[in-house]
Point group: C2
Chain length 593, copies 2
């Protein structure tokens, strides 16, 4: 059986555009005599469509495109597997997250996703009713060579609740197990969820366990997620003695980065599609060893982060109709890394930098920006804020009758800069990229409406030490200091006051990062990660731990007004982490130790 895995970059809500891509892919599949083409979960709407699903007309319009997809299979034996939203006729949530199979112009199979993730960035229970554990999810595909294929169909989360891969099941049912052990029983009784077969060259005779399980996915990534998937599905394949095909979407949607990395696994053998780009990946499976072009995945952590963020920037910018971006260049490591990523994502001609020195800026901060922008080949503007700051102080005294405090002057400088960036954006149409990292976003070491300005928070899911590591890795890759050595080596400073250093108010970053990791993500870390982080903070006083955790809680109001944060860790700031601003939980070291 020849299977074309359609790892497509779809756009949420772009029903016409997504349909066009699907149509083009089906044409290619026919031309290449594929037996089957597999599209990702919720392919027509893009994933996650969120409250577009509640909008009058949206689901109906998607359903008529789905009819169009079905019509594309007329007079063809090609089997089209596609994920789509369907309606729930019964009690419960009005919609289903479904997989449909079309062939010869007919819907020959329909399956409803059973496990609806509702945690972290997922919210599927908000819209969908779960499919019944009793529905049949195995169909028989008869190929021209006379072979019957028993094909199991599952959607994403359905595969993540098997004892082989999780210690504590999150759901009472295990759809994978059902596929193999109980599919036959389900087939004996009438199956209300699958559409009756009509006159197509397909027999739904169930003679044994499926040879192959096709899974439709829209699986957002974090660092190392692709390896986790390989491990999990290897375990499943070995346990159930069947091949698993994992068809994923690719591309970024606001905070979420879908890494692609579709694959097939049979026992210990993994066959890899490409990561971080569209891929029409043709695989062949025929009882013997499968054949598929191999694209070995990336293993280096910094390289993975780089690819995630590059894709995240590119898709956010382009899918939202922008072509150019602008970044405030402080001469520090954060803005340097954001500029580098923007250049890699969009090309140097589409990236602008503005250096905005104040009287507290070191000479180095402008010089380093100049050198950086030279190396990156991008235009650097200089727009000093010295006069703006003086005027603001003077006018403040006049209007309010007192001298501004240090905290006012510090934040005001950041806001002058944020305003200049937005002026440039309003004037030119370039999108402002925000440069805050996860460490400072955690403790609130950033100014709301100041350096937090921007349409996208590029590195706000990277701890400070990860930003350094990314810069070093990039320079190593390039064989030269594209990001100047000065920038990588200098002590971090906001330069909002004379002689200010980050360490005036914060612990050294290796310690701070470890503490924050424990506080923000502990429940998602493995034992080794917890041990390492715990070791890193062993010299902190309990009082200091409490101080940092309290700062982190108090900064929640800033984060809720931040731009979307490109997600690379298991828990990023944004909609995947929902905390009240108004709350008085008294944090203590017990929350991390």
């Amino acid at each position: 059986m020849k299977i074309l895995v359609a790892q497509l970059n779809l756009v949420i809500g772009d029903l016409a555009g997504n349909f066009a891509k699907i149509k083009e892919t089906i044409t290619k599949a026919k031309n290449h005599n594929e037996d089957t083409v597999v599209f990702p979960e919720l392919a027509l709407t893009g994933y996650p469509p969120n409250d577009l699903l509640l909008r009058k007309g949206f689901v109906d319009e998607q359903l008529s495109y789905l009819e169009e997809v079905k019509r594309l299979t007329t007079e063809s034996d090609l089997h089209v597997f596609i994920g789509a939203v369907t309606k729930n006729d019964g009690v419960g949530k009005p919609l289903r997250n479904a997989a449909l199979v079309f062939s010869r112009g007919v819907e020959i199979f329909r399956y409803h996703k059973q496990l609806l993730p509702t945690y972290n960035v997922f919210d599927e229970n908000r819209y969908f009713e779960a499919g019944s554990a009793d529905q049949n999810n195995v169909l028989t595909v008869l190929r021209d060579n006379g072979k019957h294929w028993q094909v199991g169909v599952l959607i994403c989360e359905d595969c993540w609740n098997d004892e082989a891969i999780c210690d504590v099941p999150l759901y009472p049912t295990n759809p994978v197990k059902k596929t193999f052990r109980e599919g036959f029983k389900a087939n004996d009784s009438s199956n209300p969820c699958s559409t009756p077969i009509s006159e197509v060259s397909v027999e739904r005779m169930f003679k044994g366990d499926p040879n192959i399980v096709i899974t439709l996915n829209a699986s957002p990534s974090d660092i190392g997620k692709h390896n986790l998937r390989y491990q999990m599905y290897t375990a499943l394949s070995k346990k159930y003695k069947a091949a698993f095909v994992y068809a994923n979407s690719v591309g970024a949607q606001d905070a979420l980065i879908f890494d692609g990395h579709s694959f097939m696994v049979e026992g210990d053998h993994i066959y890899y599609a490409k990561g971080f780009e569209e891929h029409l990946w043709s695989i062949f499976i025929d009882g013997g060893k499968p054949h598929a072009p191999l694209h070995p995945p990336i293993c280096v952590r910094e390289h993975l982060i780089f690819e995630h963020l590059k894709l995240g920037i590119r898709d956010y910018v382009r899918k939202n109709g922008f072509s150019q971006v602008v970044v405030g260049s402080s001469g520090g490591i954060d803005s340097a890394v954001v500029l580098m990523l923007a250049v890699e994502a969009l090309g140097p001609q589409n990236v602008f930098a503005i250096t905005m020195p104040s009287k507290f800026s070191s000479a180095g901060s402008v010089d380093d920006s100049v050198e950086l922008c030279d190396m990156l080949g991008i235009k650097l503007y200089t727009r000093p804020i010295v006069n703006d700051v003086l005027l603001s102080i003077e006018e403040y005294k006049k209007a309010f009758g007192e001298d501004p405090k240090r905290i006012m002057i510090e934040n005001m400088q950041a806001r002058q800069r944020g305003r200049v960036l937005m002026e440039f954006s309003n004037q030119t149409g370039a999108l402002v990229l925000s440069t805050g990292n996860k460490s400072e976003m955690s403790v609130g070491y950033c100014t709301i409406y100041g350096d937090m300005c921007g349409g996208l928070s590029v590195i706000a899911d990277l701890y400070k030490m990860e930003v350094y590591a990314l810069a070093k890795w990039y320079n190593d890759q390039k064989g030269e200091s594209i990001i100047p050595k000065n920038i990588v080596d200098k002590a971090p400073s906001a330069e909002l006051w004379e002689g200010q250093k980050d360490t005036d108010s914060l612990p050294p970053y290796p310690v701070l990062d470890a503490l924050l990791k424990l506080y923000l993500e502990r429940d998602l870390l493995n034992r080794k990660e917890v041990e390492e982080a715990t070791a890193a903070i062993e010299n902190m006083s309990l009082k200091e731990i409490k101080r940092i955790l309290s700062m982190t809680d108090r900064a929640e109001f800033k984060r809720q007004q931040a731009a979307p944060v490109l997600r690379v860790h298991k828990r990023a700031f944004g909609f995947g982490r929902t905390l009240p601003i108004t709350q008085r939980y008294a944090v203590s070291y017990e929350n991390v130790l």
Copy 2:
């Protein structure tokens, strides 16, 4: 039976503070010889605790406070009904949303909420495993007078799925029906969910349908929600021939306003607790007609809005440790209404206004601000932005070599003002209140980091015409124009350009508001509301409708960086409405008509 309904204003995460309130209430209940005291849903954590539930130590700490609550009942016949988070020992989500009953130092009953709302502002499936439909939820309370009371226990959403009150059930089970028709069967079998009874003066003999159903709630409000509850529970009471006690919490938590309005209903008779404030409400029920102090609820729409927003401001400000607020006073209706609400919520001594005229400001805008602040008795500062604007234009030309466009100059003025407000905030500790209304937040007629600055969006869930109506109602109530007639009567303008009026780029507000209502909330409106709104837009061209809807979608990036929006409508901007920024759904008039 004497029941004390403890309608408390709890703070999320404030385990110690909430426990102290609960303890004090139990002491009062003992002193007043109450038989029973009923606390709201999730009383110790506050509602909704959100991802605090995932934090290491949080649930354990809550459970030890729960033990403390139990101990408070030692040597007392008082029955304490309390909502709390408990752990799920079985498969599924690790937590339960539970109701517990303590008496004589023992847990005599435990019930797990069955229907977990996961829509709009609710997200309970994210944390909790639903209680089994088979669990017993009726307990017998034996009073000193020898009477047995059969008491049903349900939590909030559990009551909202009965055929008597909803056309289309959202869940497959109906806990109310089970309480009455099937509770006995459940009782015959062993009930794994309720703790065994020990040596307390309580018999769990089930002799018939419950006489009374006690419901624990944390029900956030929107305009008219209290009336909806009265209607629903009247229908339930009549259908099941039992009294229902509805114990709600009160107080605001970020965007959510819990209105209180606890009540008891028996057939057609409703007994009302207070709205919008804490209330220890003692009711007496003894077979005959119940007795309870009555507090007739508010019926006037504008009055309700006023009370919602007043509570919303007060609790956001105080619970977050602020005492003072500052508002940019433009001389327009929005800032006037926000100032009025702030004064009502916090007192005039805690409210500051700043007028920030530019060269485009009309003379009236300053004069009207002066008159308004006089009437409200608050301090008004004048801080012109004329010089800031001139300097910005000059520096822009110098740095970027071109003349700023109109759109840059317009937004820049708003950002200069936003910065001045934040300077005042940084200097004084006063919280900035944001003044945008729902109409302009919809179409993006607002400047991000400019007039959108602030910790709380006070009226961003009021359409423009509702803002006017609120102002008029307030002046009528006061018998004088506290909000000056000029402000109420003038044509709305952003005053960011010569002669600018809102209607230059927007339809008249009565039309715009109707269209937006259809677009944003249609699925939640009743037929009459849809008809009225549809009639209001009948003169709009299809092209104009599309234009406005597209503007609304394109402004999503601004709303995602807005301050929390006090919720008064069924669907407010914020976490109760989740839309991607990156999306290309081609809106059309079919989405509203």
